[in-house]
């Protein structure tokens, strides 16, 4: 095979490999149950997977070009998080955020964020992963409510016992006083009898 033939063969193999990689990436992105997107250094969404679209309500074509911070209630928090210095030295960061879906529903999410760098180590943006923690937050709030109620009940019981304790303590003291008085009176009576 001459040089031209070899080059054409290599090109054909490279194109086939590229097709395979593209199919793999698309299948993987579709399968991934975690909502993931990439943003550039300005915080603008470059792409997103199906799980991200399902979670946020934004189709990929709607999400691309949007500022990621606009998807959150606490926008300023997000802006601080994506500053390069925030993540310096860390492979990733996780924070609780409030997502605003396309339908304007507020959803508590756990957001993981990591820096992207090119082969020359230049900062080129971030990977972001979101998970819906609504169920976890509901459970936490429920538990907190139950703990509060239980604490209130226990406090009421303690107060009752304290009241009873004070009552019984008072009665006991009174009984001791009465016994003392009876004793004195008895002694008095004995003395009176003795004189007669």
């Amino acid at each position: 095979m001459n040089d031209r033939g070899k080059t054409e063969n290599l090109l054909k193999m490279a194109v086939e490999d590229l097709k395979d990689i593209e199919i793999y990436v698309q299948e993987y992105s579709t399968f991934l149950p975690l909502a993931v997107c990439t943003i550039n250094p300005l915080g603008i969404i470059l792409n997103s997977n199906q799980a991200f679209q399902k979670l946020t309500g934004y189709k990929e074509i709607e999400a691309i070009g949007k500022k990621m911070k606009d998807l959150f209630l606490n926008k300023e928090n997000f802006k601080d998080l994506i500053k390069e210095k925030t993540l310096k030295g860390k492979s990733s960061l996780t924070r609780k955020m409030t997502l605003l879906t396309k339908e304007e529903k507020k959803m508590p999410v756990s957001m993981a964020i990591s820096i992207r760098r090119d082969e020359e180590d230049n900062f080129i943006g971030h990977f972001i992963a979101l998970s819906d923690i609504t169920a976890f937050e509901d459970l936490r709030k429920n538990l907190e409510k139950k703990v509060k109620e239980r604490t209130k009940q226990l406090q009421e019981r303690v107060d009752e016992l304290e009241k009873f304790r004070r009552l019984t303590e008072g009665r006991e003291l009174k009984m001791v006083e009465l016994k003392e008085e009876i004793k004195k009176l008895k002694e008095e009576l004995e003395k009176q009898k003795g004189r007669k």
Partner: protein, 195 residues
């Protein structure tokens, strides 16, 4: 009856160069999104009448196709669906958003990188023509110039949308504008960018 005049058909046939399949595929997906498969079939039927038959399902993303496939699909879709210039710009923005090549261009982190990337990126789409992009950050203006390439008005509006979308990734200013400007030379096309 053909939807394109004989004169335009002759001009089209003389266009030189090829376009990458992935771009053709993405552009036809816009037609599907807007008008469904039936709408795309209408465009494909008209293209077949003009001698440029190509079904969407048969497009290979990594193959090169005659550039007429690009131009005619834009022109015919505009005529068949009576699309405004703004819809064509929307089409251009769609093309930039959905293209796999753009998604991989993580290096587009600033207007300067776009300027240096411009000429290489043209080659990823077309085998003919050149593009250069100059910007003046102080005056907040830029100029993209495409040479040695035939562009008709419908394609001009498409590119306005396309360039706008790429630039909006690095310049999210609400004042960003991209406008195609006519030049005396039919083979030279200028786009003025302001932000």
């Amino acid at each position: 009856m053909l939807m394109v005049s004989k004169q335009d058909i002759e001009k089209t046939k003389r266009m030189e160069g090829e376009i990458i399949g992935s771009s053709l595929k993405a552009d036809r997906e816009f037609i599907i999104e807007k008008k469904g498969r039936e709408g795309l079939r209408k465009v494909e039927k008209e293209m077949e009448k003009l001698g440029y038959a190509l079904k969407y399902e048969e497009i290979d993303k990594y193959k090169w196709y005659p550039v007429q496939q690009d131009f005619l699909s834009l022109l015919l879709a505009q005529k068949i669906f009576n699309w405004s210039d703004e819809t064509i710009r929307e089409w251009g923005r769609w093309g930039a958003k959905t293209n796999f090549i753009i998604k991989l261009m993580a290096r587009l982190v600033s207007k300067k990188t776009i300027a240096s990337f411009a000429s290489k990126s043209w080659r990823k789409y077309y085998t003919r023509g050149t593009m250069e992009y100059k910007l003046d950050d102080e005056k907040r203006v830029g100029t993209a110039i495409i040479k040695d390439f035939t562009i008709y008005p419908v394609h001009l509006h498409y590119l306005e949308g396309y360039f706008y979308q790429i630039l909006s990734l690095v310049e999210p200013s609400p004042n960003l504008k991209v406008k195609g400007v006519e030049t005396k030379d039919s083979n030279v096309h200028r786009f003025e960018v302001t932000w």
